[in-house]
């Protein structure tokens, strides 16, 4: 087959697809998160004092933090899905670090040193370590499948970014269940829970996303 002949087939195929990458990734994330929401509703449920929790600064800050992480991970995931490697997504991570540092600083100032450990260990650490990876499963699978249409410069990194995005979505859901609002707890256990998700994403991405 000559190249010009191949071009004829490519031109004839032009109508078949062409969807913006952002939309397919967003749709995958939404679909996966819906599955996790069902699991959340059936097995976990929101904390009983949710309404009054909104009035506390710790809970609100926790929400802001996980939502900022979700935004940063979305930007990173989309950047990693493209063949041109860019580093601009790093700027999206900056707000997360700033909010985390501010939250941690405030908490350490407000709380007497003797109570730090109790706050850090919290009461839900084990639940956190299992629930976040559990909620991340469906979004991770959907994201990896969506990114098969993409052309990542580094498949393993793109898989890891999928893992980070799935974990961030899971953290947003889990935040409504967890009673431990202290930044000490959130900044310790949420990232720890995200690590296996990122690693699984990287391992699967390496195989699934190469092109």
């Amino acid at each position: 087959m000559k190249t010009e002949q191949l071009v004829a087939s490519l031109v004839a195929d032009r109508a078949a697809s062409a969807r913006p990458l952002g939309r397919s990734v967003g749709r995958a994330l939404l679909a996966g998160a819906l599955v996790s929401l069902v699991v959340f509703a059936l097995e976990f449920g929101p904390r009983v004092d949710l309404a009054s929790a909104f009035a506390t600064w710790r809970f609100d800050l926790k929400l802001v933090l996980v939502l900022a992480a979700l935004t940063a991970a979305s930007v990173a995931c989309l950047a990693m899905a493209r063949p041109v490697a860019t580093m601009q997504w790093r700027w999206a991570v900056l707000p997360v670090l700033l909010i985390a540092a501010a939250a941690l600083g405030t908490e350490l100032v407000v709380l007497p040193a003797g109570t730090w450990e109790a706050r850090l260990v919290g009461s839900n650490a084990l639940v956190c370590l299992t629930a976040i990876p559990l909620f991340a499963l469906a979004p991770l699978a959907a994201l990896l499948l969506a990114l098969r249409r993409a052309a990542p410069a580094f498949p393993a990194l793109a898989g890891a970014a999928c893992g980070a995005l799935a974990a961030a979505a899971a953290a947003v859901i889990y935040a409504f269940h967890c009673f431990d609002d202290s930044p000490l707890f959130v900044l310790t256990w949420y990232p720890l829970a995200a690590i296996p998700v990122v690693l699984v994403g990287a391992a699967v991405g390496r195989r699934l996303l190469s092109w």
Binding site: Q5, L6, L10, R82, V84, W211
Partner: protein, 172 residues
């Protein structure tokens, strides 16, 4: 590319042919630098064109097209050479000014591509052959095979994805 996204077939054809001639220059330089025979050149061009076509959603319209093209070309060239056991760094940036280079004499793709076409399921192969080699439109092929134009396009898309996969996996 922008015009092509809006449905301008002729613009897309011109773009693909232009890119093909640029790729040909890049691939033959890359092969020469790696000490490989030039026989694979047209295969690399076709594999890269397929990748560019199937992955065209990953081009961000707000960004220039050339870096995106160059990234795909580099990826496919490195991938090809790696399959042939060559692991050195490949640099295609020096030749990026050749995007407008005139097409050199074109040979058909080597033995491999024909073999790959043969590996497609019967109906997919007939559609690709009808459109590519006999130069028919999707509607004509559909009429001949008793399929709707839409069904032909769906199957054509599947065939192109299968071809791209075959390129990637078959030649290790």
């Amino acid at each position: 590319m922008r015009a092509a996204r809006q449905g301008d077939d002729e613009a897309y054809r011109r773009l693909l042919l232009l890119v093909a001639s640029w790729l040909r220059a890049v691939a033959s330089r890359g092969l020469a630098a790696a000490g490989r025979p030039n026989a694979d050149c047209e295969d690399i061009v076709q594999e890269t064109l397929l990748a560019m076509h199937l992955k065209r959603d990953t081009w961000d319209e707000t960004q220039p097209l050339q870096p995106w093209l160059r990234a795909i070309a580099r990826h496919k060239l490195v991938d090809h050479l790696r399959r042939r056991g060559f692991t050195d760094h490949v640099d295609i940036d020096d030749h990026s000014d050749m995007l407008a280079a005139p097409a050199s004499a074109e040979e058909g793709s080597a033995f491999d591509a024909r073999q790959m076409l043969a590996s497609l399921p019967e109906r997919q192969r007939r559609i690709v052959e009808g459109i590519s080699i006999e130069g028919q439109s999707a509607r004509d092929v559909g009429a001949r095979m008793g399929m709707s134009e839409g069904a032909v396009r769906v199957m054509l898309h599947r065939a192109l994805r299968a071809l791209a996969d075959a390129y990637r996996k078959d030649r290790t």
